[in-house]
C-alpha cells in the first residue's frame, strides 16, 4: 500500500504537536501533513484539491471542539467537512474518504492512532476512484 497517499490538514495548536513522531513504522501509507493555524482555517477548496492531486483519503485534525483557542474553529471545520463530504458523495469519490479528528496536543499517541485508522480505512475502500480511472 506504499503508493497510497493520505493528506492531513493539522491544526498547529494540537494535532501538529502529536504528528511530530510521524506514523508508526508498521503503517505503510504516505501521510502528507499540511499545517494550519487553526482547523477553522480549512477551506473546501483545499480539501477537494487534495483529492484532485492524488490523495486517496484526507483528514483534518483540530482541537476538541470545547478546547479550540479560536472558540469555534473546530466546529466550523466539522461543518465544512460535512458539506465537502456531500460533494464527494455526489461526484463519486465518496465522502467517507474525508475524516475529521479532534485531538488534544497532550495526547502523543493519537497521531499514530489516526495513521492506523486511515490505513484501515483505505484497506477497506481501496484507492481513490480518480486514481483508478487514471490507471
Amino acid at each position: 500500500m506504499s503508493d497510497v497517499k493520505v493528506v492531513g490538514f493539522v491544526c498547529r495548536m494540537c494535532a501538529l504537536i502529536t504528528s511530530d513522531l510521524g506514523p508508526p513504522a508498521d503503517v505503510n501509507v504516505t501521510i502528507e501533513t499540511v499545517e494550519l493555524p487553526c482547523a477553522g482555517k480549512v477551506d473546501g477548496r483545499l480539501l477537494l484539491e487534495a483529492f484532485e492531486k492524488g490523495a486517496d483519503a484526507v483528514f483534518v485534525a483540530g482541537c476538541p471542539e470545547h478546547e479550540c483557542m479560536n472558540v469555534k474553529g473546530s466546529s466550523r471545520a466539522r461543518k465544512r467537512l460535512e458539506h465537502i463530504k456531500e460533494i464527494l458523495d455526489q461526484v463519486g469519490v465518496g465522502g467517507e474518504r474525508l475524516v475529521m479528528y479532534n485531538v488534544s496536543g497532550t495526547h502523543g499517541p493519537r497521531f499514530a492512532q489516526i495513521a492506523r485508522d486511515m490505513a484501515g480505512l483505505l484497506e477497506k475502500l481501496g484507492p481513490s476512484p480518480l486514481k483508478a480511472r487514471k490507471a
Binding site: 477548496r45 477537494l48 460533494i87
Partner: protein
C-alpha cells in the same frame, strides 16, 4: 439581494455530457448577490469546478475545466471581461442568478450556457447561513402603508387587508415557521403609535405592474448615454 442555491452536481454534469464533443468548460462566477449569499462567488466557483472535474473524470468523460469570476454577470462592462476566458470554450457553467446566465448568453450567443444555480428569491440574510424572502418585485411598493412589512410576499395569501382567520397566536396557518405578516404589521404599527393605519382599507392591487403585465423594462433617459 437575489438569493440562489447551487444545483446538484450531477444535474450540471449531465447538462455538460449532453453537449456533443464538449472538451472545455468555463465555470463563471459572479461577484454580486450570489457572492453575498455564498452560492456563486469565487470560492463556490472554484469548488464547483473542482467537483465537476472529479465527477467528469470518475464518469469517464474528462473535460478541461477553468474558472473566472468578475464583479457581475448582469452588466455589460463586466460581462465583456469574460471574453478573454472563452477561447475554445464549448460550455459555460454560470454560477450567477438567472439574470446573469441569460445576460451572458445574450452577449456570447455562440457559446452554450448551463445554469449552475436555481435562483430562488429576493431576500435578506436574517442570520449567517439563513436567508428569507422579503420582496416579490411586484412593481408597486406598499410598505409605506404597512409599517415596513410587506403583506404581498410575507402573507401567504398576499392579503392587502388582513389578517385572515388562519392567523393564530401570530403564526400563519400555512406553517408554524411562518409568522403572520399582518400580526407583524400590527405589532410594528402599535410600537410606532400608528395603529390607526390598520383601519385604512387598501384598494385592490394593480397586478399589471407585476409579471401579469409581461416582462418589465425601465428606461431612464437621464442616465442614458
Amino acid at each position: 439581494m437575489i438569493v440562489a442555491e447551487i444545483k446538484p452536481i450531477e444535474e450540471i454534469a449531465d447538462s455538460i455530457k449532453a453537449i456533443k464533443d464538449a472538451k472545455k468548460v468555463l465555470v463563471a462566477g459572479c461577484g454580486g448577490c450570489v457572492t453575498v449569499c455564498l452560492s456563486g462567488g469565487q470560492k463556490e466557483t472554484d469548488i464547483m469546478a473542482s467537483a465537476l472535474r472529479m465527477k467528469m473524470e470518475v464518469d469517464g468523460q474528462p473535460v478541461q475545466i477553468e474558472t473566472a469570476t468578475y464583479e457581475r454577470q448582469c452588466d455589460p462592462e463586466y460581462v465583456v471581461r469574460f471574453k478573454e476566458h472563452l477561447k475554445d470554450v464549448d460550455v459555460v457553467v454560470s454560477m450567477a442568478c438567472g439574470v446573469g446566465v441569460q445576460f451572458m448568453a445574450e452577449n456570447y450567443p455562440e457559446i452554450i450556457f448551463v445554469p449552475g444555480q436555481n435562483t430562488k428569491f429576493a431576500g435578506a440574510a436574517v442570520e449567517h447561513g439563513i436567508w428569507e424572502e422579503r420582496c416579490m418585485l411586484c412593481g408597486e411598493c406598499v410598505l409605506a402603508k404597512t409599517g415596513g412589512v410587506c403583506p404581498i410576499i410575507r402573507c401567504s395569501k398576499s392579503l392587502l387587508n388582513g389578517p385572515c382567520g388562519g392567523s393564530q397566536n401570530g403564526v400563519c396557518e400555512v406553517s408554524k415557521d411562518t409568522p403572520c405578516a399582518w400580526q407583524l404589521i400590527y405589532d410594528r404599527l402599535k410600537g410606532q403609535g400608528r395603529l390607526d393605519m390598520m383601519t385604512e382599507v387598501l384598494p385592490a392591487k394593480d397586478w399589471s405592474k407585476n409579471r401579469d403585465g409581461g416582462p418589465r423594462k425601465i428606461v431612464r433617459e437621464d442616465v442614458r448615454l
